[in-house]
Amino acid sequence: MTTLDASRALTPQAYMQGLSRWQPIEIIFWLATLLPFWLFPTYLSLASQIAITALFALSLDLILGYAGIVSLGHAAFFGFGAYSAGIFSKFAWSEPISGLIAAALLTGLLGYASSFIISRFRHLTLIMITLGLGLLLKEAANSAHWLTGGSDGLQGVSIAPVFGLFKFDLYGRTAYGYSLGVLFIVFLFARRLINSPFGLALRGIRENFVRMPAIGADSRAHIRKVYTISAIVAGIAGALLAQTTQTVALEVLSFERSADVVVMLVLGGAGRLYGGLIGAAVYMIARDQFSGIAPQYWYFWIGALLVMVVTLLPNGILGGLSKLLKRWSRR
């Protein structure tokens, strides 16, 4: 968001260019993600979990934050990616990067197939359909015990060293480096997508679904495309979890995971690219800090937080911050 006075002198193209330019704060953010290697070497497993969850939140941001599609079943793709990567390592080979790509492609197929269902619906029915498809997949994974291990989880996943060099160690050094690297690459892709003509079309869908056909846009085709992309990204996140923890639990498909990621994204600020990343970090660190309290009380605070965000902070942490900044710069 450039301020008006600064942009007035710009040519339209330079203005558009400015919107996608890297800000210093972004570079600082990404440099800061390297700090845990030196500052918190004992927390690298957590850092790796955060990077994976952030990637998951980013995938949801593409559909929820940009195209306005509320999903309560996004864990379906996360879980499908996790099982794909886990099963791939068991039955094909254990090289991680090819496994990651295989999982991404498989999840993409699932996403593409379900996008034909998703794009037909809006509002409550859409929420229900996403929820239903998510639960359906979880039940399917639960009953396919021979393949997934059912509620016992998928055992015997073993992953070869990354590039044949970096073994997955107990401290999570490789896990964090690997997850962070993948997160960064996918983020670059998402950032380009947001600043593309397609990204503009998605914002158009979010801002006014009714107007889109009147400017000749086929919103359903756009929604199918972004949903497939989002599924692939979620699948990559799930695959990372399977590879770095070398196991897959049925929980990866749970409703709680779907709900959690919505909470994180909204907490951070949807439709802001970094919102999901910030939200995931805050959420995961808070849960780690409060791990002493029983999970049911944890959800009390999550609930209270949601009520507060909706009533007091409609655009999440980043939205609140940018408002503060605007107010401050006006002085």
């Binding site: 509320v70 029915t125 359906l136 039940e139 029983a294 049911q296 999550i302 609930g303 209270a304 949601l306």
Partner: protein, 287 residues
């Protein structure tokens, strides 16, 4: 002599009656205000805990607690409607989902705080236990009672809706809210009353459900899924739709668990997705 499939059908319908009581309120409020209330089953759970407390700590008779479960849920819901929901009628789906799921999460934690996470057993009167034989089937007495309550509530609701002034106002508001406001119907008041009534029925359903499905703090989330399925399968704002969908889902669930237990709840999700693919607005939905 009837084959055992009728027994499964009967159990399914009895279960469907419970689901109907739990979901009909949400269906009507959604049809009226387009408000997605994911905390609906928290009100049902509240009613159930009212029954538990009255029976355990005050030694009330089970039947005497039922009106209290209804009234308490209705009262609490209307307070929350006034304080929180009212501000969000024009908000986005997402905001409504977030606020109400937040409340549902809180209700789970609060219930766990007061009552622990264990199941709350209650003792229904002994004459409600057992079963009677009918053409070779064993029909549970409590389940017969549930079917009777379900049908009575349906008839009462339909009569209220079709033959009272208030019912006419509700129908007008569901049909076309702008026009209803135009002809001087106080839609907000109509909504508040409907909302309280719906939550009260959910509270009643919650109390009646304890004997069949038990009660623990997860109730607010587990049955939310069922309620959402029924509402979307039946179609928003339709009592007949909720009734049909509740029977369909109840029978599917019981039959699925009886005949193909390894599939778990797979069947009801499949039914839901199939129905919505066929009719996106639900069985009785118009929009």
């Amino acid at each position: 002599m009837l084959p055992p499939v009728f027994g499964v059908l009967f159990d399914g319908i009895a279960y469907g009656m419970l689901l109907f009581l739990l979901s009909v309120g949400m269906s009507v409020t959604l049809g009226l205000m387009n408000f997605v209330n994911l905390a609906h089953c928290a009100f049902a759970m509240f009613g159930a805990y009212v029954t538990v407390v009255l029976m355990k700590d005050f030694h009330w008779n089970f039947f005497a607690t039922l009106p209290m479960a209804f009234a308490a849920s209705a009262l609490v819901s209307v307070v929350i409607e006034r304080i929180l929901y009212r501000r969000l009628y024009r908000a986005t789906d997402l905001d409504q989902v977030l606020l109400t799921i937040g409340l549902a999460f809180m209700s789970v934690a609060i219930a766990a705080w007061f009552f622990g996470t264990t199941q709350q057993p209650i003792a229904v009167p002994s004459y409600m236990r057992g079963s009677i034989g009918f053409l070779g089937l064993n029909l549970g007495i409590y389940r017969l009672f549930l079917v009777a309550v379900g049908i009575a509530v349906t008839v009462l609701l339909v009569l209220t809706l079709e033959h009272t002034r208030f019912g006419a106002q509700v129908r007008a508001a569901v049909d076309n809210q702008r026009m209803a406001r135009g002809i001087g119907i106080d839609v907000d008041r109509t909504f508040a009353i409907t909302f309280a009534l719906g939550s009260g029925l959910a509270g009643l359903g919650g109390a009646l459900a304890i004997e069949i499905v038990g009660l623990d703090p997860q109730f607010a989330l587990v049955y939310l899924v069922y309620v959402l399925i029924i509402v979307s399968v039946g179609g928003l704002g339709s009592i007949a739709g909720s009734f049909a969908a509740a029977c369909l889902i109840g029978v599917s669930d019981i039959a699925g668990k009886y005949y193909v237990p390894q599939l778990g709840s797979f069947l009801i999700y499949l039914v839901m997705v199939a129905v919505l693919m066929w009719r996106p607005a639900g069985l009785f939905g118009r929009r």
